[in-house]
C-alpha cells in the first residue's frame, strides 16, 4: 500500500489543487470522483436547462423577435405589464339628454361600447388597449374587469384549474388502482401492464385517438352512452362545447398518466412491512382502519412525490391542447405553455414567449416551495 504522501505527489495537478493540502487523500478522491460522476449530468443540465432559462430571463426584458432585422432593445417590464395588467372599471348606462336611462328594445339598460374607453380615448389613458375579461351587474352600473391580455389570463386560470383538479383526481385514481393491484392474485402483472400501457404511448398519439373518441357525431363515447341509455342520450360535441372541452381534456390526461403514478404508489405500498398489518389485525383493526392508520402514514413520502410531480406536469399542459383543441372553443382550453409556444414561435415574438416562461417558472417554483413547506417533517 502506497503512503498518502506518495499518492498525493502522483496525483494529477488539478486533483492536488482542488482540495486543501491537509485533507486526507481518500476524501479528496471521493470529492473528485463525486464531481467527475456528476459532470456529464451537470453539463447537460447547464447547456439545456440553466443557460436557456437565463437567456429566457434576459430576453423577457427586451423586444427580441425570432426573425427581424430590427435590433433588440431593452423594454424593461413592458412584456410583463402587457401580460398581467388588470383594472376594474365601472360602466354607467347611457343616458339621453334629460339624464334618463336609455333602454334597449327588450327593456334592458343600454351601455356604451367599451372600446370607446379602451381605444384612443385621451380621458382614460390607463385603459388604453385593455379588453373585457369578465363583468357583473352592480345596481344600474356594470363592473367590468379589464385585462391587457385576456387570452393569457384565461390560459393562466385554465392551467391552474387543470392542475388543481387533476392532482387529486389522477393521484387518487392511481392510489385506488395501486391498492387493487397490490394483491397476490393470478395474472396480476397482466393487469399492471394494461394499466401502465397508456403511459408508454406518446401523448400525441393518445390525444389523436381521443379526438376520435370525443367526436361529436359518431365518436366512441357518444355511441357507448347512446347504447347504455337505449338511445335517449343526446350526442355531445365534447371538444367543441365550451362547457365540456376542459373536463374532457382533464379526463383524458388523467387516463393517460394514471398508470405511471400507480406504479409509484405500488412501490410505496410494498415498502410497508406486512408485520404492521398483522399487528393491526391482532388489535382488531378493520380494512378501513388498516388503510387509515397503517397504509396512509406509510405512504406519506410517496404522496408528496406523486402530488408534486402531477402538479408540475399539469402546469406544463401543452400537447393535449395543441393536438385536440388549439386552445378553443372560446379559449376554454388555453394553457400557459401553449400560449408561450404560440407567441414565441408562431407569432415570432420571442420576448413575450420568454416572459410567459418566466411567469410560469415563478408559479411552479412557488407551488413546489409551498408544497415542500406543507409536507415538511415535523419533529
Amino acid at each position: 500500500m502506497i503512503s498518502a504522501a506518495t499518492a498525493r505527489r502522483n496525483a494529477p495537478l488539478w486533483v492536488r489543487l482542488l482540495l486543501p493540502k491537509d485533507a486526507p487523500l481518500y476524501q479528496r478522491n471521493d470529492a473528485v470522483m463525486g464531481w467527475l460522476m456528476a459532470f456529464p449530468a451537470l453539463l447537460v443540465l447547464t447547456v439545456f436547462l440553466v443557460i436557456p432559462f437565463l437567456m429566457a430571463f434576459v430576453i423577457s426584458f427586451t423586444n427580441q423577435r425570432l426573425i427581424s432585422p430590427n435590433p433588440a432593445e431593452w423594454v424593461g417590464l413592458r412584456n410583463f405589464e402587457r401580460l398581467l395588467t388588470i383594472r376594474p372599471f365601472t360602466l354607467e348606462p347611457e343616458r339621453d339628454e334629460s339624464g334618463a336611462f336609455v333602454y334597449d328594445d327588450d327593456g334592458s339598460l343600454s351601455y356604451p361600447r367599451l372600446r370607446n374607453f379602451t381605444r384612443n380615448n385621451p380621458d382614460y389613458p390607463d385603459l388604453d388597449g385593455l379588453r373585457e375579461f369578465t363583468s357583473w351587474q352592480a345596481g344600474e352600473n356594470r363592473t367590468v374587469i379589464l385585462a391587457a391580455d385576456v387570452v393569457f389570463l384565461r390560459a393562466l386560470i385554465n392551467t391552474l384549474i387543470f392542475a388543481a383538479v387533476i392532482a387529486p383526481l389522477q393521484g387518487g385514481l392511481a392510489l385506488l388502482l395501486a391498492l387493487l393491484l397490490n394483491q397476490a392474485l393470478p395474472f396480476i402483472n397482466v393487469f399492471r401492464s394494461i394499466y401502465f400501457a397508456p403511459v408508454v404511448v406518446s401523448m400525441v398519439v393518445v390525444a389523436l385517438l381521443w379526438r376520435f373518441i370525443y367526436d361529436g357525431n359518431n365518436g366512441l363515447l357518444n355511441t357507448i352512452l347512446g347504447m347504455i341509455t337505449f338511445g335517449s342520450f343526446q350526442p355531445v360535441d365534447w371538444l367543441g362545447n365550451p362547457y365540456t372541452a376542459m373536463p374532457a381534456m382533464i379526463a383524458m390526461s388523467a387516463w393517460q398518466a394514471v398508470g405511471f403514478h400507480m406504479v409509484i404508489w405500488l412501490a410505496g405500498l410494498q415498502t410497508i412491512p406486512v408485520s404492521l398489518y398483522e399487528a393491526a389485525g391482532l388489535d382488531g383493526a378493520g380494512a378501513w382502519q388498516k388503510f387509515r392508520y397503517v397504509t396512509w402514514p406509510g405512504l406519506r413520502n410517496t404522496a408528496v412525490l406523486v402530488l408534486i410531480v402531477i402538479t408540475i406536469q399539469a402546469m406544463g399542459l401543452f400537447i393535449q391542447v395543441d393536438v385536440m383543441t388549439r386552445g378553443g372553443p372560446l379559449d376554454t382550453t388555453q394553457s400557459v405553455v401553449y400560449q408561450a409556444v404560440q407567441r414565441g414561435y408562431g407569432k415570432q415574438d420571442m420576448a413575450e414567449g420568454a416572459a410567459i416562461s418566466v411567469i410560469l417558472f415563478v408559479i411552479v417554483f412557488t407551488i413546489a416551495m409551498v408544497q415542500r413547506y406543507l409536507t415538511r417533517e415535523r419533529n
Partner: protein, 422 residues
C-alpha cells in the same frame, strides 16, 4: 538542380490552377419535401439535367421534412449557414426577405412571362422567388345532387351569388340526406384558415389587413364588410350547415366522398383522389361572389436565393433552368399541382384541355389573390385563424374582430411597421 526544382514547382502550380479553374462550384439547395419519393425523383431529375447542361456548377440537394423546414432555415440563418438556393412558402417569403435571408432574383428579361401571378413571389417591387406550380381551391359538388335539388351549376363568369349560395346550403341541409351541407375543412387548423377563408372575407369587401399601407387592419378587418362576413360565418355554424372547429380529420378527408357532406371547400391537391372515388359526377365549382367578386388564395412553395450565397449567378442560372415548361409539367403530373404556365398546363396530364383538373388552371388565372405580402404575415395568419375559430364557436363578432385588429396593429407597431413607411 535548382532550375529543375523551379520548373517542377511551376508545373505543379499550373496543374493546381487549371484544376481549380475546371473544378465545379457546388450550389446547395434545401427542399421541404423529404419523404415524398415522387417529388424527390422529379427534383433530382431537374438537378441532374442542370448539372449536365453546363460545367460551372453542381447543385447538391438536401431535403427536410416540411414540419421542420422553416425552423431549419431560421436556425441556419442565425448560424450564418444558409444554402445557396432556398425553397420558401409563398406567404413566408416577405418575412425572410425583410430579415435579410434572401436577395431578389436576377432572371433574364421575360423569363417569367406567362407565369400565373400566384407563382411569382414579389415583395417591395422585386421578385424574390418563383414557383413551379400554384394551388387553388374550389367547391367540390356532385352533379346529381345539384340537379336533384334544381340547383344551377355556376361558372367562372357567373358564380353563385352570396344569397344564392346561402339558399343552396339551406336547401341541401333541408333534404336531410347529409350530416352537413358544407364542409369547410375546420379540422385543418393552421395555414388553411387564412388561405382558404380569407377569400370569403375579401369577397364581402373586407380583408385581413389594409393592403394600401400594410400598417393597420382597422376598418378593413373589423369594418362593415368584415362584420357582415363574420355574421354570415357564425351563422353557418349556428344553423348547423357546416361542421365546426371540433370536426375530426378523418371526416375532413372522406366526409364528402362518403356522402356525409353535400359540398366541400377543398384544394386541387385532393382532386384526383375525389375523382377516383366519385367519378364523372364530381364538379369543381368556383367560389361564390358575396358582392366584391370571387377570389381564392394563391402562392405555394417557390425557389429563391439566399443573401449569403457566394454564387448568386449560379443560383439564378439553376432557377431559370428549373422553370422550363417540361419540369413544371413533370411536377404537375407527379404530385397533382397546377403548372405555373399555360404552356406547361397544355403539356400536363391533368390540366391540359379536357384534363380532369383543367378548371383549376382557369380559377388560378382568374381569381388568385396572394395572401397579404408583409413580413408580419406569420403573426397576422395566427390572429386571423383564432378570430375565425372564436366566431365559429359563438364569440361576439364585432368584439372578436376589434380584438384581432388591436393585436395586429400592436404587432405592426412593435415591429416598426415591418419595413413599411409609418
Amino acid at each position: 538542380m535548382k532550375k529543375a526544382l523551379s520548373i517542377s514547382i511551376l508545373v505543379i502550380m499550373l496543374i493546381t490552377f487549371s484544376g481549380l479553374a475546371s473544378a465545379q462550384t457546388e450550389l446547395s439547395l434545401w427542399y421541404h419535401g423529404a419523404g415524398n419519393e415522387t417529388e424527390r425523383s422529379i427534383l433530382l431529375g431537374i438537378i441532374d439535367d442542370f448539372n449536365a447542361s453546363q460545367s460551372d456548377y453542381t447543385v447538391v440537394l438536401e431535403e427536410f421534412p416540411q414540419e421542420s423546414y422553416n425552423s431549419s432555415i431560421v436556425a441556419a440563418a442565425l448560424a450564418g449557414d444558409l444554402p445557396d438556393i432556398i425553397d420558401v412558402d409563398g406567404p413566408v417569403m416577405p418575412g425572410w426577405a425583410w430579415a435579410g435571408y434572401m436577395v431578389p432574383l436576377q432572371l433574364s428579361e421575360g423569363a417569367l412571362d406567362g407565369f400565373l401571378p400566384g407563382a411569382i413571389g414579389e415583395y417591395n417591387g422585386e421578385v424574390y422567388a418563383v414557383g413551379l406550380w400554384d394551388a387553388a381551391v374550389s367547391i367540390y359538388a356532385r352533379r346529381s345532387v345539384l340537379e336533384a335539388n334544381m340547383i344551377r351549376i355556376p361558372t367562372l363568369d357567373d358564380p353563385w351569388t352570396g344569397d344564392e349560395f346561402d339558399g343552396i346550403l339551406e336547401t341541401l341541409q333541408a333534404t336531410g340526406e347529409f350530416e352537413y351541407a358544407l364542409d369547410l375543412g375546420m379540422a385543418w387548423t393552421g395555414e388553411w384558415y387564412p388561405y382558404a377563408f380569407s377569400p370569403f372575407l375579401q369577397s364581402f369587401g373586407g380583408d385581413m389587413i389594409d393592403r394600401s399601407t400594410y400598417l393597420t387592419a382597422e376598418g378593413v378587418l373589423n369594418g362593415d364588410a368584415g362584420v357582415a362576413f363574420g355574421n354570415w360565418w357564425q351563422s353557418l355554424f349556428e344553423r348547423g350547415l357546416a361542421p365546426g372547429t371540433s370536426q375530426d380529420g378523418a371526416d375532413r378527408e372522406t366526409g364528402f366522398i362518403d356522402g356525409k357532406y353535400a359540398l366541400q371547400w377543398n384544394g386541387n391537391w385532393a382532386g384526383i383522389g375525389a375523382l377516383e372515388a366519385v367519378g364523372d359526377d364530381l364538379l369543381f365549382l368556383p367560389a361564390p361572389d358575396f358582392g366584391s367578386g370571387s377570389t381564392i388564395g394563391a402562392a405555394s412553395w417557390q425557389f429563391g436565393i439566399s443573401s449569403s450565397s457566394e454564387n448568386k449567378e449560379g443560383a439564378n442560372a439553376f432557377i431559370e433552368f428549373a422553370i422550363q415548361d417540361e419540369y413544371l409539367a413533370a411536377f404537375s403530373d407527379g404530385i397533382g399541382l397546377i403548372p405555373a404556365t399555360a404552356g406547361a398546363a397544355e403539356m400536363s396530364q391533368h390540366y391540359s384541355m379536357g384534363g380532369a383538373l383543367e378548371v383549376y388552371f382557369g380559377l388560378s388565372e382568374a381569381q388568385a389573390l396572394v395572401r397579404p405580402v408583409t413580413p408580419g404575415y406569420a403573426t397576422l395568419a395566427l390572429i386571423f385563424e383564432k378570430a375565425l375559430a372564436d366566431i365559429a364557436n359563438g364569440a361576439d363578432v364585432q368584439d372578436t374582430l376589434d380584438a384581432a385588429v388591436d393585436e395586429i396593429d400592436q404587432d405592426i407597431e412593435d415591429n416598426m411597421g415591418y419595413g413599411f413607411d409609418m
